[in-house]
């Protein structure tokens, strides 16, 4: 007798490790890219702004699946001559793409810090850099948390697309189960519910972080 699909639930659940590797890696890389890009767009010279704008437009304007194929078969092996595995490629692509989106979250947050903060910091004798790191950024990062929570939910769901490169995350494993058991409804529904739980749970965690670092009177409350 063929095995029934729910016997594979532990196998699907193990995919969560891969999913969260993709999400965690993508978010972290996106953060490391997004913050400096936002700072460059706000405070940098004109030529730098143009370069960063181009980066943002490229990664926001291209479907994720195209980016994955482009980097996995094109940019890394052909252009750069390096062979990267599917997981690493996926994390880099998710990170580059999330960086483009995150930069816009942080840029909005930087813009919402009022001009007077910079003036007061400079009047104290801070350099522009000191003012940004000590005064503007700590406020902007707090303001950005709600928008950033949204980015987590997006990248979590986008990570499923990495099945196209064969990363054995939740969706890839679910498809294996569907193929080997011949049942589609149960496994896909299970995978869908799994994503809902992770989206909801993660959003809750970020809300707790937001409350913990929330400062009275600082705008940015949302979500």
């Amino acid at each position: 007798m063929d095995p029934v699909w729910w016997e594979y639930i532990p196998y699907i659940l193990q995919g969560a490790i891969w999913t969260f590797t993709l999400v965690g890696g993508g978010l972290a890389l996106g953060f490391a890219i997004g913050v400096p890009v936002a700072m460059g767009q706000k405070y940098g010279p004109t030529w730098l702004k143009a370069v960063l704008d181009a980066y943002v437009w490229f990664f926001r304007g291209t479907p994720l699946v195209v980016l994955l194929f482009l980097f996995y078969w094109g940019v890394f092996p052909v252009l750069l001559g390096i062979k990267l595995d599917a997981l690493t490629t996926s994390i880099i692509v998710l990170g580059l793409r999330s960086g483009a989106y995150q930069s816009q979250i942080f840029r909005g947050a930087l813009n919402s810090v009022d001009e007077g903060q910079m003036l007061a910091a400079r009047a104290l004798g801070m350099t522009k850099w000191q003012a940004i790191t000590n005064i503007i950024l700590p406020q902007a990062l707090r303001i950005a948390i709600p928008g950033w929570t949204n980015e987590y939910a997006i990248i979590l769901k986008d990570s499923a697309i990495c099945f196209t490169l064969g990363v054995i995350e939740i969706l890839t494993r679910t498809r294996y189960v569907v193929i080997s058991t011949g049942e589609a409804l149960g496994p896909f529904l299970f995978a869908g519910i799994l994503y809902i739980i992770f989206t909801y749970g993660g959003t809750k965690v970020f809300n707790i972080i937001y409350e913990k670092y929330h400062i009275p009177g600082l705008v940015g409350k949302g979500v």
Partner: protein, 259 residues
Amino acid sequence: MGRGSEMVGDEIVLRVENIHKRYKDQEVLKGVTFEVRRGETKVIAGPSGAGKSTLLRCINLLTKPDKGRVWLEGVELTDPETNINKMRQKIGFVFQEFNLFHHLTALENVMIGLTKVKKLPKDVARKKAEEALLTVHITEDLWHKYPAQLSGGQKQRVAIARALAMDPVIILYDEPTSALDPQLVGEVLRVMEELARKGVTGLVVTHEIGFALEVADEILFMYGGRILERGPPREVVFSPKHEVTRKFFENITKLYGGK
């Protein structure tokens, strides 16, 4: 006569010479020259659009003047060779809108300039900050409140403490009570007056005629980007040389109920 006058020495700490500033097609400052002596409190008055705030910002170069020079204790701030960040530490600046750092408590607001700019050790900075806060009558129960949890008057006094803690050569006040509810103006003016009497040098843009009459050693009346007239407060307010000056103070006395 200004009550701070007994503290005033002969030493000029701030010299402003022939400052010009133009925004697009509007000439905001058309050559302003004056000086401030140590311990002196000088009030700049004049109608809005006279260039008062621009003038203050040209002094610490938050705004770059097009022409003219500024010296603080003999060092030319307008010299491109001068490290302006170093010099700004010596110039306190109090904004109309307070501009306290939203993410820091009252105490941290006062400390941050000491730790990050003056690089003082934390405990030393803390002690200095506490002293400054007590000087402006911000008591311990308010030290760990965030700006949004303070009243306007408390915010502005914290802002004054933030400037004061840096041991500035001079404090520039840019309409420090204009954004306050009327019942909160008094507590801020009182602190400013106390500082003036202690000999803290101040340059104050304000419409508070009472303060000017009680505390200032001199009033500079600005009109159309120039100092139209200057002199002892009573003279400028009650027997000005120019008709515009007379009209201005007449209106403002009605408005603010000056003493």
